[in-house]
Amino acid sequence: MSELTGKQRVQKLFKREPVDTMPCFSGQGAVVVQAIEKMGTQFAKIHTDANLMAQSAITSARLFNMDGIVIPYDMAVVAEAMGRGISLYDGADGIIYPTVPNKWKTLDEIDIPEDYMSRGRLPMVDEAFKIIKEQAPDLAIGAWVLGPFTLAGQIMELDILLKGLKKNKDQTAAFLEQVTQVTIDMCRHYQELGVDFISVREMGSGTDLLSPRMWKTLIGPNLKKVFDSITDTPSVNHICGSTDMIIEMMHECGATALSVDQKNNVAETRKKLGNDVLLFGNFDPYNTLVQLEDVAEVEAVIKQCIDNGLDSIWPGCDIWPDIRMENMETYVKTVREYGKKPSPAVGRI
């Protein structure tokens, strides 16, 4: 549809340089069942095999003319590498994402192995990145990592962690610093792999769970360290859930772009942050791409997102893989056509 490849379009977006039309990509999982079926495989198998992971990502992007891809698909990769195990649900009916079965139950038990980067599926994910780079050089390649607090909640019991924020402040803060270093190491690793952007998803830290005051003291400073460490690659600070009360603090963390879900009042956020900030989001992926039965409604949702002042229209969370084809097509088509006009932070060629 234009002279720009998806990769170029996304690269320009992150530099806030003019593009031909709004890029359509995601920092959240965007693998779809139609791609998996086309490959003749199963959802449970694409998490453990580098080639299946790479091909499912590429095929999903190609099916809908997306500008980029992002892997891996599940949140359990790092926790598994730390020895917390993995539940793959390979015998289960339908789509279930891998989870962590054996979280640490107390702060005293935590023992992060030094060589975690070479354990579990992490080397396999690296291999998948290599395949994608070779086979889809025209697509923007995204890596994503969990933010320190959310990663902490993957490796230890979340209720213990949450209570620890109040009951054992010093010990919990020290643990979060330790996990922050893991997130930083992962980001450095993905920079070295040469990805086009890194999305840091601190999805468990919205004000549905934590107070803005707690966010300011325990979440924000660690996220800032993470974004300070990402020096050579564009970065995205994504938080789902309620973010209106923390959006300014999110901005102060220093990511190249911010990403929010449907709970954020984007029009208000744009007013708060001004037009120079790259802002991505914020449609409800399940409702928009799976549930809506009229593509006109999908089109209206996407147009509203653009009108609210976003620079790229992202799903607020992972795309639920069992999308309706026509809804996904309408999402991409609307972004392309209605996104021809400049967005607040990015002009048009």
Binding site: Y89, D93, I95, Y97, T99, K103, D208, L209, P285, W320
Partner: protein
């Protein structure tokens, strides 16, 4: 010696201020003073949790505080519950509760469970990451009045639909309650469920409000 009113106020304060030891002490004091333990549970512990709900709704308390309040409540409940005498003529209500397969989160589930514990129901807690067939088997086995399922993530909630269909087919009278972040009222209706809690925050809020309804019921305000 403190009056009943004063002891109930201590229970309320201990829950609101998440003081576990104070809650246990006040519960023991209630027993020693001859206060009906059911009154101590409902007008002390549950009333305290209702206030916590207000603090949560007004953004004064967040989930860490609510979890600690729940811990304090259970300290008191553990002391009071063995002393509650049940009317043998009235069958005890029961619930099967758990987080659906693929979901390893159980905070919302545990807060809703607390509501049933406070009300004195028989609670069959299946835990988290529960296979679909386990929900169905357990519900049919114990013939619970309510089946409560939680899914914190969009990616796990589809399983609920299957469980509801299986249970409703064999036991249409069972009330089904859904909770968890991605389950909207529309989805609950679509799945054929009888109740829902909209979000993680709302699961907390709704769970606490249900305690309020039970307290009203105890007082005979609603029929």
């Amino acid at each position: 010696m403190s009056t009943q009113e004063e002891i109930l106020a201590k229970l309320i304060e201990a829950v609101v201020e998440y003081e576990e030891d104070d809650c246990a002490d006040a519960a023991q004091e209630a027993l020693d003073a001859g206060i009906d333990p059911m009154v101590a549970v409902m007008e002390g512990l549950a009333a305290g949790m209702e206030r916590v709900g207000v603090l949560f709704d007004t953004n004064e308390y967040f989930v860490p505080e609510v979890l600690m309040c729940a811990d304090a409540l259970y300290k008191g409940l553990d002391i009071l519950r063995p002393h509650i005498t049940l009317d043998a003529d009235i069958p005890k209500a029961s619930v099967v509760i758990g987080s659906i397969q693929g979901d390893v989160h159980d905070i919302g589930k545990n807060l809703v469970k607390m509501m049933f514990d406070v009300a004195g129901w028989d609670v069959h807690d299946l835990g988290r990451d529960v296979p679909l067939e386990t929900f169905v088997e357990k519900q049919l086995d114990v013939k619970s009045d309510v089946l409560a399922m939680s899914a914190m993530m969009t990616t796990t909630m589809m399983g609920m639909k299957k469980v509801i269909a299986m249970v409703k087919e064999k036991n249409p009278d069972c009330l089904i309650m859904l909770g968890g972040a991605p389950v909207t009222r529309d989805v609950a209706n679509l799945f054929g469920a009888d109740g829902y809690a909209e979000s993680a925050g709302n699961a907390v809020s709704e769970g606490i409000k249900m305690i309020g309804r039970l307290r009203e019921y105890q007082k005979g305000d609603i029929k």
